[in-house]
């Protein structure tokens, strides 16, 4: 089904009428929805971009970070801007519906007003609308699509594989997909996706002879213009995630080979070359400054909802770098005007997907209902009432991870707990009930085992320093794109600008200094080493047990390190 403009406005009007009982701001938002979703077409080549939906088939809440620090050359530049500084940088009016979409400001109240975001049925309506006004437009998926929900885990990602085919994804690249194992990825590529969706990744090679594992790029004809889409999978998959899941695949950034792929695509006749990337935005910005001949990099991984592209100069010209947020909250719409074999102009908008403003697509809704039906009872189990806001995203502990590390310490009788610096995970508003589905939104991975380790004080510091460098190394190519490991029990001071091994100091436990030679009981989860397989019960079982016994979760103040040298950093409020 495709929708023309008039039909779309009619359904919007119905949605607006249905929203009359809501806050008056919402009624205003509904009136403004035509502006939000009625993008005038431009040029002759359009590409739609979604990324990092983390298997969220239904609308959710997702709070953007209030801490997203940039250091070195990244200081104060997109994406390292939060709150009002971000709005000012991109010219977004405070208090507007866009301000709510792109920032954490006044999150709980604004989320109640404007409602949930994302959801594949609502995204499908927006995609159909954009494709109707932009003939020939392709839908690109930047990956992290198969992981992040209970149903994705339990169906071995089949729910997302089928949902993406129904949504009309044309080309995708990978990150968390690989945590289902190399065989599963190839099985989907060769069967489910055959003739529907191309997986592209120029930087995945076999570990033995560096033979390509996937197509480096595909060339599609859009309105007579050959357009190359080059794939760049997450370069550090076998480091950030278990290597045993893809033992024969090597990744890496591979600038030189990216240049070769771009040159080969141009030589094959491509007039537009774009990269579908899971590098993370800082890595994309550096890559755009070094590799020539790329018109745009459509980025993900770091979950930065950037309202406008960053324009990067390189020896061959200019490259646009975008990043399209996460959790199905946004759809990037890029329109190129291609003349005489090259891009001469563009328009870009990162469109927020407000579920109350975009009616659900019937076909997608029916599919989602069907795929969820066997699991509804399990997903809906109420675990506890949350009195405060629970969110994850931010460079240091969010309240959701604080709850997880508190639970690990209590349930596993540990002194200290670590939780990985994942950037996915949905948000719970104050007064809402935490269900099993919400808990799985934070924890559903294929290596969910908990660990309890006797760790020396010296080792604890080593772990913190190691992760810190993955986040704050001044050279983005040495970063991995997650956030800082979440820490429970332990207090510390933290200087992001210090050299590797010197950022963490003043570690204390209950007011006492951590001693390098003393051992401590440390709980954690998501171990990457093969030896740690089945090390302990799944993290969701441990945390669910804690929540059931608590019944009510009080307002949580996340444990923040004492930051050094970050005064006035525009990446923090």
């Amino acid at each position: 089904m495709s929708m023309n403009r008039r039909e779309f406005l009619q359904v919007l009007a119905v949605a607006a009428a249905g929203g009359m009982t809501l806050h008056s701001d919402f009624a205003r938002a509904a009136q403004g929805a035509e502006k939000l979703y009625d993008l005038p077409p431009f040029g002759n080549v359009s590409l739609l971009h979604m990324t990092d939906c983390h298997a969220q088939l239904l609308p959710i809440y997702f709070r953007e970070p209030n801490v997203n620090l940039g250091v070195g050359s990244m200081l104060g530049k997109a994406p390292h801007l939060v709150g009002e500084l971000l709005l000012k940088h991109f010219g977004i009016a405070p208090g507007s519906i866009e301000a709510h979409a792109f920032s954490y400001l006044d999150f709980s109240a604004a989320a109640r007003t404007y409602g949930k975001v994302g959801g594949f049925a609502h995204l499908a309506t927006l995609v159909k609308r954009m494709k109707a006004s932009r003939p020939g437009a392709l839908l690109l998926d930047g990956g992290d699509t198969w992981q992040g929900s209970g149903t994705a885990l339990w169906t071995n990602a089949q729910d997302m594989v089928d949902a993406c085919k129904l949504l009309g994804v044309d080309v995708m690249t990978l990150h968390w997909e690989s945590t289902y194992g190399a065989e599963r990825v190839k099985e989907v590529e060769e069967n489910d996706f055959a003739g529907h969706i191309d997986i592209v990744a120029q930087n995945v090679k076999t570990t033995d002879f560096e033979d390509p594992v996937f197509k480096p790029y595909v060339i599609r004809n859009i309105n007579g213009v050959p357009v190359a889409i080059v794939g760049q999978a997450f370069p550090y998959t076998p480091i950030a995630n278990p290597r045993w899941q893809t033992p024969d695949w090597s990744f890496g950034i591979r600038d030189d080979e990216m240049q070769q792929a771009v040159d080969a695509a141009r030589a094959e006749g491509a007039q537009v070359v774009v990269v579908l990337s899971h590098n993370g935005m800082d890595v994309d910005l550096k890559m755009a400054s070094r590799v020539t001949g790329i018109d745009a990099i459509f980025g993900g991984h770091t979950h930065d909802g950037m309202p406008a592209p960053t324009v990067v100069q390189n020896p061959g010209g200019k490259t646009l770098v975008t990043n399209a947020g996460s959790n199905g909250k946004f759809l990037g719409v890029m329109d190129f005007d291609v003349r005489d074999g090259k891009v001469v102009d563009f328009r870009y908008k990162l469109v927020p997907v407000f579920a109350n403003l975009l009616p659900a697509d019937a076909e997608m809704s029916a599919f989602i209902d069907k795929v969820r039906a066997p699991f509804l009872e399990k997903l809906a189990e109420p675990l506890a009432l949350s009195e405060g806001l629970l969110y994850r995203r931010g460079n240091f502990n969010g309240s959701w991870d604080q709850l997880i590390v508190d639970a690990l310490i209590a349930e596993m009788d540990a002194e200290i707990a670590f939780s990985p610096g994942f950037r996915w995970g949905t948000t719970i508003l104050p007064g809402d009930t935490i269900t099993m589905e919400h808990l799985l939104d934070q924890t559903a991975i294929t290596y969910p085992w908990t660990t309890l380790t006797e760790m020396s004080g010296e080792m604890i510091k080593t772990v913190l320093e190691d992760v810190a460098d993955n986040l704050f190394n001044p050279d983005p190519y040495y970063q991995q794109g997650g956030d800082m490991v979440r820490v429970g029990g332990l207090q510390y001071s933290f200087d992001p600008n210090a050299a590797m091994g010197k950022r963490v100091d003043n570690m204390t436990l209950k007011g006492r200094r951590i001693e390098p030679g003393k051992t401590y009981k440390v709980a954690g989860w998501a171990p990457v080493s093969e030896e740690a397989r089945d090390s302990g019960p799944a993290v969701w079982d441990v945390v669910a047990g804690y929540l059931r016994s608590q019944k009510v979760v009080r307002q949580i103040t996340p444990n923040m390190p004492q930051l050094v040298g970050m005064e006035g950093n525009p990446g923090m409020v």
């Binding site: 480091i239 950030a240 890496g252 993370g280 990985p420 040495y478 991995q480 997650g482």
Partner: protein, 155 residues
Amino acid sequence: MDNQRRDALKAGGGLGVFGLLAAAGLIKPEMAFAAWNKDAFDAKTMDAALAAIGAGKPADSADVQITAPDIAENGAVVPVGVVSNIANTEYVAIMIEKNPAMLAASFTIPAGTLADVQTRVKMGQTSDVFAVVKAGGKFYVAKKEVKVTLGGCGG
């Protein structure tokens, strides 16, 4: 996909790369030991390792390129390659500063051969990796940092 190399090696059965090349008469077993330099491989400091190969204080050169990952996927087998674009390159050594023994590999480049070598090295921790090249009797060096991390915690 070009699977010729894989098929060729499969056809070689259990001989492995070295055995296959030896069987094909491409290298003689004693050649592997011809350039063995005990002092160099036993050296515990960069200065000692450089001295043992006679390099002294090599000059930095942009004509020596190291190919290695920014972050190692597996510290036990880190792929490192060196290309020297300096004319008459006769020798290439790979040194890992933070390894217990610095010199990881050395290659003698026959005259008229493209100086393009690749190997896998073991690294216990984050370190600078040095490529030391001898050409026309002089030594040159280039370096690249390779990070070895504990892993995990990726977004």
